[in-house]
């Protein structure tokens, strides 16, 4: 009975939402702002990757907020799990196979290098800080899988995530005090298009985001590993 009523309600709501959304022109031409970004992003920001120019240029403040969302989620998880009285250490976990532990020795530095490549080249090629950071965290996940006894250096992770977060805020404040006096204004020279040292503050911010996301996700993995008992 309850299920039937629920299904009927759901159907009514679904049809209503569907009819309302029909009013949105589907496949209509792009928005004016989108056109502006595609036309002018290279000149405005000096980044050849238009997505990056929006994420770290025009809407960089959103990105600061998103980095903070991840930071607060990782911190909250740490606060709830670390004090929950869980036993540290992971006894009784089966040791990894030889292939995994031997492969890890080769792969770990390569994955880190790949992650670093992605976030340092975020203004030139697809990818950026978030993607590079996730790749770096996957390297640490591999370490956990291959050698169950190993732990990340927690103070190192805290140091990295706090310093990189502060770098982001400090760049914003420098923009507020230097040059055009706008928070997160691009106060560094834009350089030549398509070179590594171009686009002003964008690669600096992406490096900070890459390190921050990498250390935060690695910290989340570490926190969740503690509770395997």
């Amino acid at each position: 009975m309850r299920a039937t009523v629920g299904l009927i309600l759901l159907a009514v709501i679904g049809v209503g939402v569907g009819i309302s959304l029909l009013a949105i022109p589907f496949g209509a031409p792009k928005t004016e702002i989108g056109d502006y970004y595609i036309e002018n992003a290279r000149e405005d920001t000096g980044a050849t990757n238009v997505v990056t120019s929006v994420v770290v240029g025009y809407r960089a403040f959103d990105t600061l907020g998103e980095v903070t969302v991840l930071f607060v989620a990782a911190l909250g998880l740490g606060a709830v799990l670390a004090t929950a009285g869980g036993k540290r250490g992971r006894s009784g976990v089966e040791p990894a196979s030889l292939i995994l532990s031997a492969g890890n020795i080769f792969l770990f530095p390569l994955i880190l290098l790949f992650g670093a490549y992605i976030f340092t080249h975020g203004h030139l090629t697809p990818g950026g800080g978030f993607q590079g950071g996730a790749v770096i965290a996957s390297a640490f996940l591999l370490v956990y899988l291959s050698s169950p006894g190993k732990r990340i250096n927690e103070s190192g992770a805290t140091l990295t995530e706090s310093v990189s977060g502060l770098v982001f805020v400090a760049i914003g404040l420098l923009g507020l005090t230097y040059g055009t006096h706008y928070f997160l204004a691009n106060f560094l020279p834009k350089g030549t298009l398509n070179t590594l040292f171009s686009a002003g503050i964008i690669p600096v911010i992406y490096c900070a985001i890459g390190l921050k996301v990498g250390s935060e996700l690695a910290g989340v993995v570490d926190n969740l590993m503690e509770e395997t008992e």
């Binding site: 209503g16 939402v17 009819i19 309302s20 959304l21 029909l22 009013a23 949105i24 928005t31 004016e32 702002i33 989108g34 502006y36 970004y37 240029g57 025009y58 809407r59 960089a60 403040f61 959103d62 600061l64 907020g65 998103e66 903070t68 969302v69 930071f71 607060v72 989620a73 911190l75 909250g76 998880l77 740490g78 606060a79 709830v80 670390a82 004090t83 929950a84 009285g85 103070s155 805290t158 140091l159 995530e161 706090s162 310093v163 977060g165 502060l166 805020v169 400090a170 914003g172 404040l173 923009g175 507020l176 005090t177 055009t180 006096h181 706008y182 928070f183 997160l184 204004a185 691009n186």
Partner: protein, 511 residues
């Protein structure tokens, strides 16, 4: 230099710095949190009377980049958030000593403040959503900070329902973006007004408005979206309960709802679709006033009683604003709408003061006696004279006894409701004001007066670090009632005018 970005940058910087310095310096959390919230509170108070300003982040002008806007409404909320945050931090210095992981606590607290300030100053729909998430996730973690079973359960429940609200809000933001092609609120409102004429609103926009109403309604804990609040607010540590009931439900719920409804969907103009939304808002408000008030009477857990009372009181705030919107939507007089909205905003700031005071008092009582069960407490007036006096003042104020602040704000709301022709609603609002008085009389009789017995016998007055913030808030409760002429023209009227003049907001942001 434009100070608006600093409201976000300062707490964010403090939140990142606290765990870093905490590695070597145990007191980093306390010190940085006190310093940064003090600076923020002073900045917010100094912002009174400054002209409205807009800051284009990164120098990208409005529809291209993100604009931060500071107008009268923003200043009102900034004062409430930052002053109460400072007082709650001072209270935490002593109160939180019994907990572990304090660097995490202060860092999460600063992130919650950064998120609320971000929501309040943002002029961009997606940016508002991002900071709403920052503040929400920080508050989920803070509710569960005690990590006892019931606290974790309350935090989990809050997180699930809060995430549902966030999804609704994100969906609505996406719909507005799909229809108007812009995320900037002023630009979107101009598109809606010119392309859709306001009067015959596009069905997709109406759907977005409904989703905004539900999403922000859940963040504000309006009935029927209130189920998380009676668990979440009592479970949190007292200073966090004070922040949650005092300012979080207002900045993330009521403020965001008002800003989006008035400055994106154009509540200020007469149209049938605005009338639908305004009526829905009044309906939710009446339900909240009735349900919150009636459920509060039966509570014997002091903090749970306060939590139910928050639901009822937030209903008065949205009733004032909803009546104002209805008057505008049905082509009524502007001065009547202005009166109703003024009442709502006045009750918003009053409730921020007395409800955070009541929650801080509940924390002081719990720490002194070890219980918050009202059946076990009695005669605290003799053992804890200062806490009892501040609790009394707050209770008188919230139950609308003249000349305290709560009386004036409820009076304005009820008068405006009657003049708007909503007699039935006004009768309910008046009746429930007496119910509020009834359950606060119960609080006074049960725990403050009577013979000293049980846990009260060994109770002592709490440390000055805890009672000084309470005294300051008690002075505010009395002051708001007596100094209305000063307060009204300098803080409340600019906020009301900012809400009413949507066209001016568009001009301010887009130039």
């Amino acid at each position: 230099m434009n100070p608006v970005p600093l409201y976000v940058a300062i707490p964010l910087g403090a939140a990142f710095l606290i765990p870093l310095l905490g590695m070597w310096w145990k007191k980093s959390g306390e010190t940085l949190a006190v310093l940064s919230t003090l600076v923020l509170a002073v900045m917010a108070i100094l912002a009174i009377g400054t002209p409205a300003m807009v800051h284009h982040m990164g120098g990208w002008t409005a529809p291209l980049g993100i604009a931060l806007v500071s107008d009268g409404l923003t200043v009102l909320l900034l004062i409430a958030v930052n002053v109460i945050a400072f007082l709650c931090i001072i209270f935490s210095l002593k109160y939180m000593k019994v907990y572990t992981g304090l660097t995490k606590y202060y860092s999460l607290f600063m992130l919650m403040v950064a998120g609320m300030n971000g929501v309040v100053v943002s002029g961009d729909l997606f940016n508002l959503f991002v900071f709403l998430e920052v503040a929400s996730i920080a508050s989920y973690a803070l509710v569960a900070f005690g990590v006892e079973a019931d606290e974790l359960e309350a935090g989990f429940k809050y997180m699930i329902l809060g995430s549902v609200a966030s999804v609704m809000i994100l969906f609505a933001v996406g719909t507005v973006y799909a229809v108007t092609g812009t995320l900037n609120m002023a630009d979107a409102s101009r598109e809606i007004a010119t392309r859709f004429g306001g009067a015959e609103m596009n069905p997709a926009l109406l759907l977005a408005a409904a989703f905004f109403l539900m999403g922000f309604g859940l963040k504000a804990a309006l009935v029927p979206f209130h189920a998380w609040l009676p668990d979440a607010h009592p479970s949190a540590p007292a200073p966090i309960s004070a922040m949650l009931s005092g300012v979080v439900i207002k900045s993330l719920g009521v403020y965001a709802m008002c800003r989006v409804m008035f400055h994106v969907f154009g509540f200020g103009t007469a149209s049938p679709s605005s009338a639908i939304i305004a009526n829905a808002m009044i309906g939710f408000s009446v339900l909240s006033i009735v349900v919150g008030g009636l459920l509060a009477i039966g509570q014997w857990d002091f903090k749970r009683l306060l939590a139910y009372s928050s639901i009822g009181q937030i209903g008065y705030v949205t009733l004032g604003i909803g009546v104002g919107a209805r008057v505008l939507a049905t082509g009524g007089t502007r001065s009547l709408a202005a009166l109703a909205i003024l009442g709502g905003l006045f009750h918003l700031i009053n409730h921020a003061a007395f409800k955070s005071l009541l929650f801080l008092s509940s924390g002081a009582i719990q720490q002194a006696t070890g219980t918050r069960d009202m059946k076990m407490l009695s005669g605290l007036r003799k053992r804890m004279p200062i806490t009892a006096a501040t609790t009394n003042l707050a209770a008188l104020s919230i139950s609308g006894v003249p000349p305290f602040s709560g009386f004036w704000s409820k009076l304005i709301i009820i008068v405006a409701t009657i003049r708007a022709g909503l007699m039935g609603v006004a009768v309910v609002a008046i009746a429930m004001a007496f119910v509020t008085l009834a359950y606060y009389v119960k609080v006074q009789r049960e725990i403050l007066f009577g013979p000293v017995r049980g846990p009260a016998e060994s109770a002592k007055e709490v440390s000055p670090l805890m009672y000084v913030p309470m005294i300051i808030l008690a002075i505010v409760c009395v002051g708001f009632g007596l100094l209305y002429p000063v307060l009204g023209s300098r803080i409340l009227e600019p906020a009301r005018d900012a809400l009413l003049n949507g066209a001016e907001y568009v001009k301010l942001v887009l130039g």
